[in-house]
């Protein structure tokens, strides 16, 4: 209990004193997670919408793969991305090992299936009605898809929030591909893991609290956007 209390005190101190290292870590965490979520949204929402509105061979097999990937262990995602981008890997010439770019790619691999799967489930239930409406009002394919995404925007927003939660709290993948290098690829989750292994529990809790506060603020913002859309 004492460690937690000290952690709280340290968290407040860290935030008030404007610890430069902490702000850098927070900034990188946000940059990596937000970039990954934005990319995953552009990939996952149209994919989920298309799968939900079309029938094609092997659709069920594809859905099973997406559902499996929704619970993909981050270390596996990290390992696979690492094998691709390491110097001797097929994408080794990119030279992005232990960089924020690699961390974003790993998180995209984790978040895209979540957004795709959740979007698919929302679309599947409502798509027939929206599609019929769009066709009878003279909308083309692209306009129908736009209307569908507009109609399901609240559910899609929830899928994005879920994806963001996964990205921000993830540690295994970014640790493997990023390496937790101070000033370069260190993010809050990997920093917490390192502090714990060093026995610095109070600072670890302090950073954890900062992470929670950030998650709360971002989710509050997204919730407010969702509420505005709903009204």
């Amino acid at each position: 209990m004492e460690q937690i209390a000290i952690g709280f005190q340290e968290a407040i101190d860290l935030l008030i004193t404007g610890d430069a290292e902490l702000y850098e870590i927070v900034g990188l965490s946000l940059m990596v997670s937000l970039s990954a979520v934005i990319l995953s949204t552009f990939l996952g929402v149209p994919c989920g919408a298309l799968i939900g509105t079309h029938n094609f061979p092997l659709k069920n097999a594809l859905l099973r793969i997406i559902y499996t990937l929704m619970s993909l262990p981050p270390v596996i995602a990290g390992l696979v991305v690492f094998l691709f981008i390491m110097r001797r890997g097929p994408l080794g010439m990119w030279g992005i090992t232990y960089t924020p770019t690699a961390m974003i790619i790993a998180q995209v691999c984790l978040v895209t299936p979540i957004i795709t799967g959740l979007t698919y489930n929302i679309v599947r239930d409502k798509a027939p009605k929206v599609k019929s409406l769009a066709v009878t009002l003279g909308a083309g394919r692209l306009e129908s898809l736009k209307l569908l995404i507009f109609e399901l925007r609240i559910g899609i927003m929830a899928a994005i929030v879920t994806g963001f939660g996964r990205a921000l709290s993830e540690v295994g993948a970014v640790m493997i591909v990023g390496g937790n290098i101070k000033g370069k690829t260190r993010v809050m989750t990997t920093y917490i893991a390192q502090l714990k292994s060093m026995g610095d529990y109070s600072t670890a809790i302090a950073v954890g609290i900062v992470l929670l506060i950030l998650a709360f603020l971002i989710n509050t913002f997204l919730y407010n956007v969702q509420q505005k859309v709903e009204k």
């Binding site: 019929s132 409406l133 066709v135 009878t136 009002l137 003279g138 507009f150």
Partner: protein
């Protein structure tokens, strides 16, 4: 808009649910489709609307009897109206924006239709706050906004009160008479069919049993099945 069907069939899982030899709905018709449950009325309407494809046969539209469905010139109103999650006026504007109408023209059309259907006070209201009758009127206003040449309606007054029913019926007669819109109305209400439609098509088990002038057909049907249906002996 003229609609011509020839040897049209629709099958679901190997079962034939629609089988129409020939059927011509003339340009400017106000045609009611009646029949018991499972007669194929809604399937026929969905086929004409291009929402489903026939298994066999041809479905032709317009003077030139084109086989491609003119989606930009026809529309459909469903029994349970689906409104876009936005305001009433944005719902009405949606098909006009798709057709590239100018903002001023859209505004004028919205004003005209909301006034006509008693929706002026609801223009800024969100669609999900409307009652069933109001929602159906908005769906009708939206369908009429771009002045379709063919209007298909699947039991549009099944869930609305008598005064809204009267308003919708008045509007259907008006656009048919003044704008020459071809109207095809599926209804379970024989009184409504007689009151609104110029022609009536009676269907049973996926086939057209009888087609003729509504007053004559409903007063003095030729076919035994139609007689039984009009007499209330067949379940609707």
């Amino acid at each position: 808009m003229r609609v011509y069907l020839e040897n049209l069939t629709k099958e679901y899982e190997g079962r034939k649910i629609l089988d129409i030899g020939t059927l011509l709905i003339e340009d400017g018709a106000l045609c009611g489709i009646i029949g018991p449950n499972g007669a194929g009325k809604s399937t026929l309407l969905n086929l004409i609307a291009g929402l489903i494809k026939p298994t066999e046969g041809s479905l032709l539209y317009g003077e030139g009897l084109s086989s491609s469905a003119p989606f930009r010139e026809m529309t459909m109103v469903f029994q349970a109206p689906y409104l876009i999650r936005t305001t009433v006026e944005k719902n009405i504007a949606y098909p006009l924006k798709l057709r590239g109408w100018a903002d001023v023209a859209i505004e004028c059309r919205i004003e005209e239709l909301t006034e006509e259907l008693g929706l002026t006070n609801f223009r800024k209201q969100k669609s999900w706050t409307l009652s069933g009758g109001e929602a159906q009127k908005v769906a009708l206003a939206r369908a009429l906004s771009f002045r379709p040449r063919l209007l298909l309606l699947d039991e549009p007054t099944a869930n609305v009160d008598p005064s809204t029913t009267a308003e919708i019926e008045r509007m259907l007669r008006k656009i048919n008479e003044k704008e020459g819109t071809t109207v095809v109305l599926v209804t379970h209400n024989l009184v409504q069919a007689k009151r609104v439609c110029k022609e009536v098509l009676f269907m049973d088990q996926g086939e057209v049993v009888e087609f003729g002038i509504s007053e004559t057909l409903l007063r003095d049907p030729k076919q035994e099945l139609t007689k039984r249906f009009v007499a209330g002996e067949l379940l609707t």
